[in-house]
């Protein structure tokens, strides 16, 4: 009896855990099933999680045609790449200054940087929109990117990364007369690649998924990003027929990050754990 109980409990616990996991995954399972379901299946059973026997790509075709998803992909890619490119420069320079140089006011400036972790950009959308208008960047992709060009998290992460590197290589390079920029570019950054990649993953995810700020800055449809397109699509969906198309559209928005995540799971998880350890 005792032996049976000993084997029974873990089995029950595992079954329960799998049930919770199934519940957790069900919104995604539905998205997958519904997006491949033919239109004629009837909207009454639209919620069924059982896959249809005759999968179709029609929903994806409709989604791609009705929203200008191609354009939204391009705009989102521009925003994500533009933010990341500028950030790599600003956080590497600032991270190097905080990790390797000593100067009056360093601690104070470091705290001033950390302030951005508390006053996150979404909290300041109202004054930032005015600033963007003043700068003539309203309704432009650079206007969407500008508030993110400086990153306290990235600076902190690069500082930690630089601090963990041995100083021998830099000292050797400095003795050979290498200037500071050559030391950063040729000596430090190649060794700091894991830190940069971790930062890139967090930055790309954040800006791919961002919605509220682009929604405020962008007005013309030609500048819409994926999340804005999807939101317009969702709020426009009313008749029962369109659920498959909505599921397909949602899948199109989520797919690139999802594929990247499944391919580089370890790196994503490590980066996200670090992204929390920023305070």
């Amino acid at each position: 009896m005792a032996r049976l109980e000993k084997r029974l409990w873990p089995a029950i616990a595992t079954a329960l855990l799998c049930a919770v996991a199934f519940l957790w995954a069900s919104p995604f399972l539905w998205t997958l099933v519904a997006s491949f379901r033919p239109e004629g299946a009837g909207s009454a059973d639209m919620a069924s999680l059982l896959p249809d026997l005759h999968p179709t790509l029609a929903n994806f075709r409709t989604a791609l045609e009705s929203g200008s998803f191609g354009l939204y992909y391009v705009n989102t890619l521009i925003v994500v790449a533009g933010v990341l490119a500028v950030q790599c420069v600003t956080v590497s320079l600032a991270g190097y200054a905080f990790a390797r140089l000593s100067f009056p006011g360093r601690d104070l400036l470091f705290y001033a940087f950390l302030l951005q972790l508390m006053l996150v950009p979404p909290a300041l959308i109202v004054p930032n929109l005015r600033t963007v208008v003043d700068l003539g960047l309203y309704d432009s992709l650079p206007g969407v990117m500008a508030p993110y060009f400086a990153s306290a998290f990235g600076t902190f992460l690069m500082r930690q990364t630089f601090l963990s590197l041995p100083r021998d290589f830099e000292e050797a390079a400095a003795i050979d007369g290498a200037p500071w920029w050559a030391i950063i570019w040729y000596v430090l950054l190649p060794m700091a690649k894991p830190g940069l990649i971790a930062f890139a993953i967090v930055s790309i995810t954040a800006h791919w998924n961002e919605f509220l700020w682009p929604l405020m800055v962008i007005s013309s449809p030609a500048n819409h990003t994926l999340t804005i397109g999807l939101a317009a699509f969702t709020m426009g969906a009313e008749s029962g027929k369109e659920w498959g198309v909505l599921a397909a559209g949602t899948l199109l928005v989520m797919a690139p990050l999802a594929v990247a995540f499944i391919a580089f799971q370890r790196r994503f998880v490590d980066s996200f754990v670090f992204s929390g350890v920023k305070g």
């Binding site: 996991a21 995954a25 919620a47 508390m118 109202v126 004054p127 400086a150 961002e210 350890v277």
Partner: protein, 312 residues
């Protein structure tokens, strides 16, 4: 010993060239910080000063009327606005209503999947996955899940013979539906921190408790939870900041309704500025939320310091 270029040689007696070079090196750190500081000033420091000043003025939209100084008039207006009070109360319920179940689930998930088996790896992915998708995409999915009658939730509840309420249309239920979505979205993210935190729980303390005859619940309550206190404090702070500063799902699903039942502080700010064009009100509400964010951050810093000192 630091890098030669970072310790400027004293210029005295070494000639003019060296002194110019050393001055340049003294300015180097500031030059390296300048690009970051420029954007921080433009989009983090100045905006706070800007809303602080502009919240004292009234600027009627589109009438061309002159800007008038109203002192704390905008704050009086905001605090007297029933929609603001409702949004503040909702945000409090939302924050507590999301935080508690999220912390419990995150810890439960972490305990369940911490071993490195293949099943654990799959479950970790399943639980973490919602935090990777855009909040807007999550809202789109839940738009269908919450759909009355034919949606995913009602469809399967119906098979069990349960008739669900109008998840987003009933003003008593809507906020809890939004809370449910957010718990689903965030629990897996915080699970990662608990998995990392569990690796730092001293193994011999757990084993000692086991030898002393502590059961699983007692080990959790008296050994593991105290050891995880820093993780819990940290997760609480980042969660609270997040719960005050993201309303994408509210915009897509409910637009704050029905009758302000799901209005949150940031949505109120967004609405004041973007839909009602009441800039003074939006500025005042922004400054109030900045004050709350700073209070959470600095309050938590002090609590964490005290905690660290308490643990020696």
């Amino acid at each position: 010993m630091s890098v030669a270029s970072t310790t400027p040689v004293d210029g005295i007696g070494l000639g003019r060239a060296v002194s110019v070079r050393s001055r340049r090196l003294r300015l180097l750190p500031y030059a390296l910080l300048a690009p970051s500081l420029l954007f921080l000033a433009l989009f983090t420091y100045l905006p706070v000063a800007r809303v602080a000043v502009e919240s004292l003025y009234d600027k009627p939209h589109g009438t061309g009327a002159a800007v008038t100084f109203v002192g704390f008039g905008n704050y009086t207006k905001v605090f007297a606005d029933p929609a603001f009070r409702q949004a503040a109360l909702n945000n409090l319920i939302y924050a507590v209503g999301v935080l508690l179940p999220t912390l419990v689930l995150a810890l439960a998930f972490a305990l369940a999947v911490q071993r490195s088996t293949r099943l654990s790896a799959v479950l970790r992915t399943v639980f973490f996955f919602p935090s990777l998708v855009p909040l807007v995409a999550a809202a789109s999915l839940f738009f269908f899940i919450f759909l009355p009658g034919v949606g995913l939730l009602d469809y399967y509840l119906g098979k069990l013979g349960i008739h669900g309420p109008n998840w987003l249309g009933d003003s008593d239920i809507a906020l809890w539906s939004v809370i449910g979505l957010t718990v689903w979205k965030n629990a897996g993210y915080y699970m990662l921190f608990y998995i990392a935190g569990l690796q730092n729980v001293p193994r011999d303390a757990v084993e000692a408790a086991m030898i002393d005859g502590a059961n699983a619940w007692q080990r959790l309550r008296f050994v593991i939870l105290p050891a995880l206190a820093p993780t819990t404090a940290f997760v609480t702070v980042i969660a609270l900041i997040q719960l005050l500063t993201s309303v994408d799902h509210v915009i897509v699903l409910t637009r704050g309704g029905p009758s302000n039942a799901t209005n949150l502080l940031l949505y109120y700010i967004f609405q004041s500025a973007h839909e009602n064009f009441d800039y003074g009100k939006a500025a005042a509400a922004t400054l109030i939320s900045v004050a709350i964010l700073l209070a959470i951050s600095f309050g938590s810093l002090r609590i964490m310091e005290r905690g660290a000192r308490g643990h020696g």
